[in-house]
Symmetry: C2
Subunit: 128 residues, 2 copies
DNA sequence: CAAATAATTGACTTTTACGTAAACGCCGTG
DNA sequence: CACGGCGTTTACGTAAAAGTCAATTATTTG
């Protein structure tokens, strides 16, 4: 496990630009270390970027991703806070379950569309 | 099954604005009938809107949703077109499978975060 | 029939998530 | 040492996906 990654290493790994990574830092999603002015990304930062990319692929906004990331952090020390966090976790889980339903339905419809295409090919006498 | 829905009925049902529905029409995602200038949404339009909302929740862009919607339509008559459509279906399926992996991982992490919170509550002596 | 209600179009604005460009710092190499 | 390559900041620009507002036109209803 590497100590630090440079910004360009991460841009290559995740297929994003330096601008994007700096933007995520501005948004408070990541907090890489500094040596002088240059950023040093720790493995933990890299994990965060991975989580950000996952969130993006799922269509979450930056602020939603921020919320989700905060849930992975050390749980807070106060009871009220903890209960709030549990509620928000449950909420996000609801979002994800909805997405899963959407996903399964869309997949099913794609299957159906594919079948129609295959049937049509058979009608046309194409040997698949 | 109703013959037609008004635009406001659909806005209420899907929690979107009239502007949004007109926008989708401008984008060529739906094609409601007209009586004079007022739009008449058929059940099939309603189904389309439902598919659009699903796509949106999954983070697909309008043009991706347009592509997906086109796959549900009557398959084209020409062999080349059919094969292209099959390829695009397979591609979208790939996207969806990636989303599903992302989703399961995020759900797992939320489970983990929840457990941490619950443990912390127990430490604090809170009877859940 | 007048007033309220609902719908339309068109123009302009906003928000999100970056892209792009300018101008500069630091560092190793030929 | 100057040059290329990588990195930085600051500032402005932009595309997508609507939201907002104004002016206008039906439609319904008391």
């Amino acid at each position: 496990m590497r100590d630090y990654y440079t910004i360009t290493e991460l841009t290559r790994e995740f297929g994003i630009s330096t601008r994007t990574l700096r933007f995520y830092e501005d948004e408070g999603l990541i907090h890489p270390l500094r040596r002088g002015r240059t950023r040093l990304f720790r493995p933990s930062d890299r994990v965060l970027v991975r989580q950000i990319m996952r969130g993006k692929r799922l269509g979450f906004s930056i602020s939603e991703i921020r919320q989700i990331i905060q849930m992975y952090k050390e749980p807070p020390g106060e009871v009220g806070q903890l209960k709030m966090m549990l509620a928000r976790i449950e909420e996000k889980r609801g979002d994800l379950r909805q997405k899963r339903r959407d996903l399964e339905e869309t997949l099913a419809e794609l299957d159906h569309a594919e079948e129609s295409c295959l049937e049509r090919l058979v009608e046309l006498g194409v040997t698949t």
